[in-house]
């Protein structure tokens, strides 16, 4: 292939560098390649240099920018001289290498949470929450809601003894479930809520839990954000969760949680909330704004105006400060609130063709985030390029929710009633 390249009019001297370890490390020597190669060509060059048994796709960076066109075009666009030896850093391509078996639900999967590595939580339109330990194996069913679950979250992970799960539903309530992951057997365990959080006057759209704390917050169609405490149950009444299999809450006394704080400020439905720091809540709303709330004072300290009704928001990236939000248009926007004087988004990703239903930052990477859209696609993004790194098109209908799981997988649920897990995504 190098012989072919030399026939081309233009050749470039390149040097491949990497931070990857042994099996993916090429010798640091200058290679002459034609300037018309694309990412695929570069990847095959590196693969041929490595002589791996199984070909491995790579992505290439020049000066911190991912190459998404032919090398010549890229150099022209960036104004980089092709005469000196070019140093190209390569990383393993961010793309799912394996598609897990879909986990079928009874209805649309409206919520998914993969923040706990051992489980995936899903919320469904049939009003049940489910805990999946692995693809296809549902260990627990969280029951009790009379309306569709709109959001689900790991509320508190206090060691190994138990996991608290919070669900938000269209029936205007939130429920807290305690699940013991140890007792996961072959059969599916049905779990009832130990605490019902009533207080919203309309459907609850979103729930988020405080990290290393005992509080959850929820955004609702009544334009408010409520902050609840999850801990009270233990002090007052201990209701063993196992007893209430298939029963509804009317038979046995249950705790009713009171609203601790109500954050008022949004003028329309609060569609999504995230709680990334101890007392900072980010929320987005159909009133086109993203707000940052101080839980202590109950005031909003930041107000980003996007111009579109927003469905989802997440905070992450560099210093966990970048705000990504998507909504009623196909553009995923990323703001940097630390930038003074401007409220314009710093990044806009516009490859989707319909509303964006979910966006999540990768927990460990500063650059990667995913977005799910009603066009049935999940896209993986890198801030260093405007094109999606990869597009997951496993869903046959709208994707309603998506999340990272275990750092290398994407879990997603959609209107095709399936939970799909795409794994093997290598993010260094």
């Amino acid at each position: 292939m190098n012989g072919e390249g030399e026939d081309a009019s233009k050749v470039i001297h390149v040097k491949f560098l990497t931070k990857l370890d042994y099996p993916f490390k090429v010798p640091v020597t200058s290679v002459v390649i034609p300037s018309s190669v694309t990412r695929l060509g570069l990847s095959s060059i590196v693969n041929s240099l490595l002589t791996l048994e199984k070909p491995e796709p790579f992505d290439f960076l020049i000066d911190g920018e991912l190459i998404r066109m032919s090398l010549e075009q890229f150099l022209n666009a960036k104004g980089i001289s092709a005469e000196r030896t070019l140093e190209i850093e390569y990383i393993r391509a961010v793309a799912p290498r394996k598609e897990e078996k879909p986990s079928l639900h009874d209805d649309w999967v409206s919520a998914v949470d993969g923040s706990f590595p051992r489980f995936v939580l899903t919320g469904c339109y049939d009003g049940l929450g489910r805990i999946w330990s692995s693809p296809g194996s549902c260990t627990h069913i969280l029951e009790g809601h009379t309306g569709a679950i709109s959001s689900i979250a790991f509320a508190n992970s206090e060691g190994a003894e138990g996991v608290t799960v919070a669900t938000a539903s269209r029936d205007r309530t939130l429920r807290l479930f305690k699940v013991d992951p140890a007792e996961s057997g072959d059969s599916t365990t049905r779990v009832g809520a130990y605490k019902i959080l009533c207080g919203h006057k309309a459907s609850v759209a979103s729930v988020a839990a405080q990290k290393y704390g005992s509080k959850v917050c929820s955004g609702s169609w009544d334009c408010t954000i409520n902050v609840w405490d999850t801990n009270e149950s233990t002090s007052e009444l201990s209701v063993p969760g196992k007893k209430r299999k298939g029963n509804n809450q009317a038979e046995e006394p249950q705790l009713e949680g009171e609203v601790e704080t109500t954050l008022v400020g949004h003028t329309q439905c609060v569609s999504s909330v995230v709680w990334p720091e101890h007392d900072v809540i980010y929320s987005c709303s159909w009133d086109h704004s993203v707000r940052r709330w101080d839980v202590e004072t109950g005031k909003d300290s930041l107000n980003l105006y996007s111009g579109k009704a927003l469905n989802t928001v997440d905070v992450g990236g560099e210093g966990s400060a970048l705000v990504a939000a998507g909504g009623s248009d196909p553009i995923l926007r990323v703001w940097d609130p630390r930038k003074p004087g401007t409220s314009a988004p710093v990044f806009q990703f516009a490859s989707h063709s319909s509303w964006i239903s979910a966006c999540k930052w990768h927990t460990s990477s500063w650059f990667h985030l995913l977005s799910a859209s009603y066009d049935g696609k999940i896209m993986l993004w890198d801030l260093r390029t405007a094109w999606p790194l990869s597009i997951i098109e496993t869903h046959k209908d709208k994707v309603l929710c998506a999340d990272w799981w275990k750092g290398d997988s994407v879990v997603s649920g959609g209107a095709d009633s399936n939970l799909r897990i795409s794994s093997g995504i290598s993010i260094s």
Binding site: W108, A202, W221, S328
Partner: protein, 729 residues
């Protein structure tokens, strides 16, 4: 001599006096001159006569008379100088003529020449008249003066020889006598011939003696006061000046005549700028032809003639590229083909020019773009719905009606397949389905947020459905409301057309009407709802009160077939009814005739919507026109928008954004910007924004309903293709 001196001193004297003096001098000098002239034979002066022809008989008499008269006359005429003259002459004559008495006499007579009349009295007549006569004339007494016998030449010669003084004798023809000149006279003549002064002792260069004493004169020469004319502006001069001024003004007097321009002009020049143009407004210069060049000559130079190769090249060219004229040579002008017809052709050309009037085309150059009204750019009017991202699929028949709930979370739809569905707006999830046996005509969500019930028009029934979306307390209230207990007494007239029944299948209320219901509308307070039965004619509109389970007929007499109704959004009692042709506004509380009648001018009204402010109304018609009424302004439409090629099925206003929309059977929906200003002087601003396509036509029907999202600038459209679409900004 002194006379001359005095004359020189007094030059101021008038011309007349000078003349006199001159004649006086003449008289002095003329005596010898005349004598001389008589010598040459050409004399005719009076004075002369007297000089020469002195008769001896009255010489003494004349002398005495002459002396007296002479002095007196001289004094009169010549200021007394003459006297001295006379004396001088007299002395001289005396001294000269001492020799003979005759001469003395003659001298004496000579001095008094003026008094002595000439002997002959014929006067100044030519002497030829007397040539053949024996007499020469008549003397003073009338006696003929006989001619003397003429001396023959011999005699005169002999006399000359005899008398040495004979040369002095001069023959006077007039008086027919001989006159003998004296020595002095001859001397005088001689001097005069030389051009000197006649008198020998006259010194022309005598020193000037100023006899007048100038210096010590006490009195002025004239004591007359200074005359006024010295210092008064002259009246005559002024008159003269005025006369000149008037003449100048009249143009009779011209000073600088303008130079006449040479009457030449460029024969072949461009006359577009000539003064002919400025004289006539409608002057149209004749079209200018290109002047013929050398190549158009009948015998052009050789270099203009194309060679054979060039001609061949012309043949190969396309007809339109070929040169129009190819130069040719002719031996003479007569051999030109056009020569034969030249006269006729030029006549035809002139005739063409004459018969073909050149008319100035009055064309106004207006940029068509400038005629367009200045509308703000669409970009500035964002947000507005423009692209479809969400579809609500599930119906199996044409979706006839949609209605979003007031929070914007849900939307209800009714379809021709008989189903009523509730959808989640955010995800497009169908939440609830009610199935009926007849096609659903209209659904309407109760406008109260805590009262989530639906009014559905199915055939003759108006069904109130509980959506079960509210909280528990709300559900309790709704269930109470929908439970039909003992029904209140209805009027007979009402009972004939409406009956309230419980709906068994879905646990709501079914209000049965006597005709098919076509339209349902809620009062903004959520208790009243109006139902329209198109076929019901005058009884076609009824108003139900849900809380009382009661029905009222319209308290107003109505004309025409009702199409749709509206409760006024702000004014509680106002009720708007659209019939097929007109829109009438009623006040239900006052039970009066129509407050206002809006003349739409449309053929058939299909729908209407009212601005949330309550003053502006849009009406859609089945001919595709939409009228905007400013109800405060006039009963005529403020604007009529003709956009749709087919029937407009529905029109809608947004509750908060300045947007309105119309949807049509042509499968499109139009979105407009409709800004109503709070300033009453400012007219509403209407800007077409977007044509929303996407629906497909099914069984010749397009978009059947459109409604705006209550809070977002989004538009729901219900299509005959059984899909509901959501257009977002």
């Amino acid at each position: 001599m002194t006379k001359k001196k005095s004359e020189g001193a007094n030059e101021d004297q008038t011309i007349e006096t000078k003349k006199k003096s001159v004649s006086a001098v003449k008289s002095q000098k003329e005596k010898p001159v005349v004598a001389k002239q008589s010598l040459s034979g050409s004399l005719n002066s009076d004075d002369f006569d007297s000089d020469v022809f002195d008769s001896e008989d009255d010489a003494s008499q004349r002398e005495t008379e002459g002396g007296g008269k002479d002095s007196s006359e001289d004094e009169l005429e010549l200021h007394g100088h003459e006297g001295s003259d006379d004396d001088d002459e007299g002395e001289q004559v005396d001294s000269e003529n001492e020799g003979s008495e005759e001469r003395e006499v003659a001298e004496e007579s000579d001095s008094s020449e003026d008094e002595v009349a000439p002997r002959n009295t014929v006067g100044d007549v030519p002497l030829e008249w007397y040539k053949d006569e024996k007499h020469i004339g008549y003397d003073i007494t009338g006696k003929k003066i006989t001619k003397k016998e003429k001396q023959d030449k011999l005699d005169s010669f002999l006399a000359n020889m005899d008398d040495s003084k004979n040369w002095r004798k001069i023959y006077d023809e007039y008086n027919d006598e001989e006159v003998e000149l004296t020595k002095e006279e001859s001397k005088l003549i001689r001097r005069m011939l030389k051009g000197e002064a006649p008198h020998a002792d006259f010194d022309p260069y005598a020193p000037y003696v100023d006899w007048f004493k100038w210096d010590d004169a006490i009195h002025p020469l004239s004591s007359a006061p200074e005359p006024k004319r010295r210092f008064i502006p002259s009246k005559w001069e002024a008159k003269k000046v005025v006369k000149y001024v008037r003449a100048i003004r009249k143009g009779l007097i011209k000073f600088d005549k303008p130079e006449e321009e040479p009457n030449v002009y460029l024969l072949w020049g461009d006359d577009s700028a000539s003064d002919q143009k400025s004289k006539h407004l409608t002057y149209i210069p004749p079209p200018k032809l290109k002047l013929p060049g050398h190549e158009e000559s009948y015998n052009p130079s050789l270099e203009y003639i194309p060679t054979e190769e060039e001609k061949a090249a012309y043949e190969l060219m396309y007809e339109e590229d070929r040169p129009k004229f190819i130069p040719k040579r002719f031996t003479s002008l007569r051999s030109i083909p056009a020569y034969e017809n030249a006269l006729k052709e030029s006549f035809d050309r002139c005739l063409d020019l004459y018969l073909c009037p050149r008319v100035r085309k009055k064309r106004i150059n207006i940029d068509p773009e400038s005629l367009k009204p200045k509308l703000p750019s669409r970009k500035d009017l964002r947000p507005y719905p423009n692209s479809c991202y969400l579809e609500y699929k599930g119906h199996t028949g044409a979706v006839t009606s949609v209605s979003p709930d007031c929070s914007g979370q849900w939307i209800a739809s009714g379809s021709a397949d008989g189903s009523v569905r509730i959808w989640e707006v955010e995800t497009g999830r169908c939440l609830k389905v009610w199935q009926f046996k007849e096609p659903v005509k209209c659904v309407a969500w109760n406008p109260l947020p805590d009262f989530p019930i639906l009014a559905v028009a199915i055939g003759q029934d108006l069904v109130i459905l509980n959506t079960e979306l509210g909280t528990d307390e709300e559900q309790q209230k709704i269930e109470e409301l929908l439970r039909l207990g003992t029904l209140p007494e209805q009027d007979e007239a009402v009972a004939a057309i409406v009956s309230w029944l419980p709906d068994e299948t879905y646990g709501g209320i079914k209000i049965k009407h006597f005709k098919n219901i076509s339209y349902v509308d809620w009062h903004p307070r959520g208790d009243y709802l109006s139902a329209v039965m198109s076929a019901g004619e005058t009884r076609g509109v009824v108003i139900h009160q849900l809380s009382m389970h009661k029905t009222q007929r319209l308290p107003i007499k109505m004309r025409g077939l009702p199409v749709c109704t509206l409760f006024h959004p702000t004014h509680r009692g106002m009720f708007i009814i659209a019939t097929k042709k007109n829109v009438r506004v009623f006040n239900l509380q006052k039970r009066e005739l129509a407050i206002k009648k809006l003349e739409t001018g449309l053929r058939e009204i299909s729908s209407m919507a009212i601005h949330p402010g309550g003053d502006n109304l849009i009406v859609g018609s089945k001919e595709g026109k939409m009228c905007w009424f400013d109800m405060d302004l006039s009963s005529k439409p403020y604007k009529t928008l003709k956009n749709h090629p087919k029937d407009i099925t529905n029109v809608a206003f947004h509750r908060s954004y300045p947007l309105f929309a119309s949807c049509s059977e042509d499968s499109t929906a139009y979105v407009f910007h409709g800004k109503v200003y709070s300033d009453l002087n400012e007219n509403p601003l209407i800007v077409p924004l977007e044509i929303l396509r996407g629906h497909s036509t099914s069984s010749d029907r397009g978009v059947l309903d459109c409604k705006f999202h209550p809070r977002q600038p989004w538009l729901f459209t219900a299509g005959a293709d059984s899909v509901i679409k959501l257009y977002c900004h």
